[in-house]
Point group: C2
Chain length 313, copies 2
């Protein structure tokens, strides 16, 4: 096994990336969703990138499920005292990341290079690539109108039904040469157990990425996804409700139908074993295993199994 590219969103993608890094180290490149990025208190926040970064650095907070371990909240508490809106909570250690990023970006550094430097600062082995250097913003249409993603996700606690999704700016963006090279030289391409609509969807919407993956498949590069829907439920977040409200089946089979044009294999949980024949009838190979990553060992085990399965045909 040589080079692997993983497409990933935030939490689930971060855990799976960490497992892969435990297996293959620097041969892993993670292409992360940037559609959730936002600005808060003038700071550029990259939630999915940072989830992956903190997981790869083994500094993610396992209880809270987001942000850094051993976090403190001095800045946010003071911002609140001073009358600022703080629905998007930022930890003090986390803010250090945002400050470094803000300074680099303001000096004109490309996001791809900013991500590289943050990776160096955190001492991670794998490489994280933003899906594009241009700003792309995921917007969701709800009964309250079009909302920015974090407005829907964090501020309104995913209470709204999502009627439509779009990736503003995607048409003006372009795959970076780093993403192009990584996909082109990958021995396997994986899609993490992330929300297919708003975590993986934006990545595949970047002009060039889906085509480059399709080209790699034609040359024989295996492409496998892991379902983030288990037993009809998202392990975290609103993916199940979002699939349903957008007219998809909120199951691993629904995920399979979305990914069928892009992948040749899907990894699903034991809980969904009965769906395997239906998924196979879509033309996908299926592996059934335990996909819940409860600890480091489970992360690495799942990563190893997915890797083996992806290249097994």
């Amino acid at each position: 096994m040589a080079n692997v590219v993983l497409l990933a969103g935030g939490v689930g993608g971060g855990k799976f990336a960490h497992g892969l890094q435990a297996r293959i180290g620097e041969r892993l490149t993670v292409v992360v969703n940037t559609g959730d990025d936002l600005e808060r208190h003038g700071l550029p926040i990259w939630p999915d990138h940072d989830s992956v970064l903190y997981n790869l650095a083994n500094k993610d907070d396992r209880e809270r499920g987001w942000g850094l371990r051993d976090e403190t909240w001095g800045v946010s508490e003071q911002l609140e005292r001073l009358g600022q809106e703080t629905w998007f909570r930022l930890g003090d250690r986390d803010i250090a990341t945002h400050l470094i990023r803000a300074e680099l970006l303001r000096a004109g550094t490309r996001p791809t290079e900013v991500a590289r430097r943050l990776g160096v600062a955190f001492g991670i082995a794998a490489r994280i690539l933003p899906m594009a250097d241009e700003p792309i913003r995921t917007l969701v249409r709800t009964d309250a109108g079009w909302l920015e993603f974090q407005e829907y996700f964090v501020h309104r606690h995913q209470a709204d039904e999502v009627r439509e999704v779009r990736f503003a700016g995607a048409e003006a963006a372009a795959m970076s040469w780093e993403v192009s090279t990584a996909i082109g030289s990958a021995d396997a391409i994986l899609i993490g157990p992330s929300n297919p609509i708003v975590s993986i969807g934006p990545i595949l919407a970047v002009p060039g990425i889906a085509d480059t993956i399709a080209e790699a498949r034609r040359r024989g590069t295996p492409v496998a996804a892991v379902s983030g829907i288990v037993g009809g439920k998202a392990l975290r977040g609103p993916a199940d409700r979002m699939l349903a409200s957008l007219g998809h089946e909120p199951t691993a089979l629904g995920v399979a139908r979305i990914y069928a044009p892009f992948v040749d294999a899907l990894v699903i949980d034991h809980a969904d074993a009965s769906l395997a024949p239906a998924i196979e009838s879509l033309g996908l190979r299926v592996k059934v295993t335990d996909t819940i990553m409860t600890d480091d060992a489970a992360r690495a085990r799942l990563a190893g199994e997915v890797l083996e399965f992806a290249v097994a045909r």
Copy 2:
């Protein structure tokens, strides 16, 4: 007593401003030095403004002598872990101020308006005005060359002898209408116990300010200064050494000679009572009192005495 304008630098000026506010509340306007301002980690830091702000809000740390009380250091410690230079330490609560300021400035808000909003957020009665909206940077020439002020002051611990001082950008700056109006309508103008060279010097170097003060004096507005040099020593900071290396006498008399063109009265400490005749011979009225502000009561007492003395002639 109606309206008072105080020209002030950081720590000593902040304490004295706090005492004045205890006496006259919202009738106090503090014009602060901005020559020490700098950018760290992409954040605009206004050390003298914030010292005055935190003192006026009664949130200044009395033991450390700078910054906010009950401060934590999560961001700075993490920045250091990530390989950033952190010789200019920023507390977490303090960073909230810088974030709010950065966002306002980046949106095009004038520094004078930014200061007003920060004053509102901290709930202070007095008003703080930056000496100018344009950037002015105090530079000091040392045997190591020209240094930015905080490089000399914080990073190099004031170890260098100061051979020359200049205020880069002053010639291109202009007194704001707020400063002009405040001075023009003041019933007394005071100069706090700040460093005459690098705290008060920059304020008087802003085109228009010294002239407007002179005009107010011609109309009869009293102008009084408090010596920050007591017994030949600065209470804090390098003012004594700086006066000496720039050819001034490092005493209250040296301070009197610098301020003589601008003021008609000087307040000095009991320790310097013997200098009173020499100062009076410069044409200044002199008041001798206890100028050390050890607690809130001392701040308010000194402020009251200086006010009374200033308008007493």
